[in-house]
Amino acid sequence: MVSGTQLASLRRGLVEYCVLAELDRGSTYGFDLVKKMQSQGLIAGESTLYPVLARLKANKLVESAWYESEEGRPRKYYTLTPLGRESLEAFRLLWPPLSKAVSTSIRKDDDE
């Protein structure tokens, strides 16, 4: 049986690149990112996203800074770094064949 930890690690690894892809569309703040990714079914909530964002920042794949929102509220914005873009591009090349290979590998025999 696949353990919860294994699934969490697998999902987290993929979510990282989905966050990079979202930031590649433009800088945004965490709350907005949570809502977008929740609606796509990628994360359950903010408890998943902020540790991932902290990890991406530690990896120098994203930058973050406080800016004032239009309402005057301080808001933490996240921006993709050149290294993050490079990493995303590498993943974009790797993912399709890997995804196909995994799908083929785990397919049940009666699906063929």
Binding site: T5, A8, S9, R12, G13, Y17, Y29, G30, F31, V34, G45, E46, S47, T48, L49, Y50, P51, V52, L53, A54, R55, L56, K57, A58, N59, K60, L61, S64, W66, Y67, E68, E71, R73, P74, R75, K76, S87, A90, F91, L94, W95, L98
Partner: protein, 216 residues
């Protein structure tokens, strides 16, 4: 820019998360807390009630556990802890090697005149001297490398730094006293390395990132 202020219950949740993530690297911890703070402020501004915000985010325990998982602290912690122990072990081995070498250094020499008028030179090694103070004194640099190997991680840093400092002093004695002390220099270098290697790595080093990308 000032960070947004939050209702008391949310501040309390953040303080609790702060306490429970104390093993994270300070920058990662600050980033994590800032993210949640900004998120809570947006949620409050969007009209969400505090109980619903707390229900949505979940327990501090679960979030802290997720943060440790995401930031890979445990694994890095073990990796670097192992490296520190290996370096400390190397320092002990080198100090022991230096001690054995010191035992083989000539301690005193004498010249005896035989009945036939010939001179007989004899040399006594440190090991043969029977000088207990010297034998123990030269063994001390090796002995001080042992305590860090026997203590918990919490005490290791302090003791390994003390060991590194003592061995450095001993090695430097080579300039002003017996050059035999220079033999402890390699042990001192290993002990310094054991002391300065960070106990915890920054999560996500470029090397790890490359490994991750290579896997994917």
């Amino acid at each position: 820019m000032n960070e947004p202020e939050l209702p008391v219950a949310l501040e309390k949740w953040l303080r609790s998360l702060h306490r429970q993530t104390k093993s994270l690297a300070p920058a990662d911890r600050a980033e994590l807390l800032d993210g949640f703070r900004s998120h809570f402020a947006e949620s409050v501004a969007a009209g969400a009630s505090v109980p619903s915000i707390l229900q949505e985010v979940g327990s501090v325990d679960a979030v802290a556990e997720g943060a440790y998982g995401a930031l890979g602290e445990q694994r890095d912690h073990e990796t670097y802890w192992g490296l520190k122990r290996v370096l400390q072990l190397a320092a002990s081995a080198l100090a022991l090697g230096a001690y054995v070498w010191v035992l083989l250094i000539p301690w005193s020499s004498s010249v005896r005149i035989e009945a036939d008028g010939s001179y007989v030179h004899s040399t006594e090694l440190v090991a043969q001297s029977g000088d207990l103070a010297a034998l123990i004194g030269f063994a001390l640099p090796f002995l001080v490398t042992l305590p860090p190997l026997l203590v918990s991680q919490r005490m290791f840093t302090l003791l390994s730094m003390a060991t590194a400092a003592l061995l450095t002093v001993v090695a430097c004695l080579g300039w002003i006293s017996n050059p035999g002390f220079f033999l402890y220099a390699p042990a001192a270098l290993a002990a310094i390395a054991a002391a300065v290697v960070p106990r915890k790595a920054r999560a996500g080093s470029p090397r790890r990132l490359k490994e991750q990308n290579a896997f994917l």
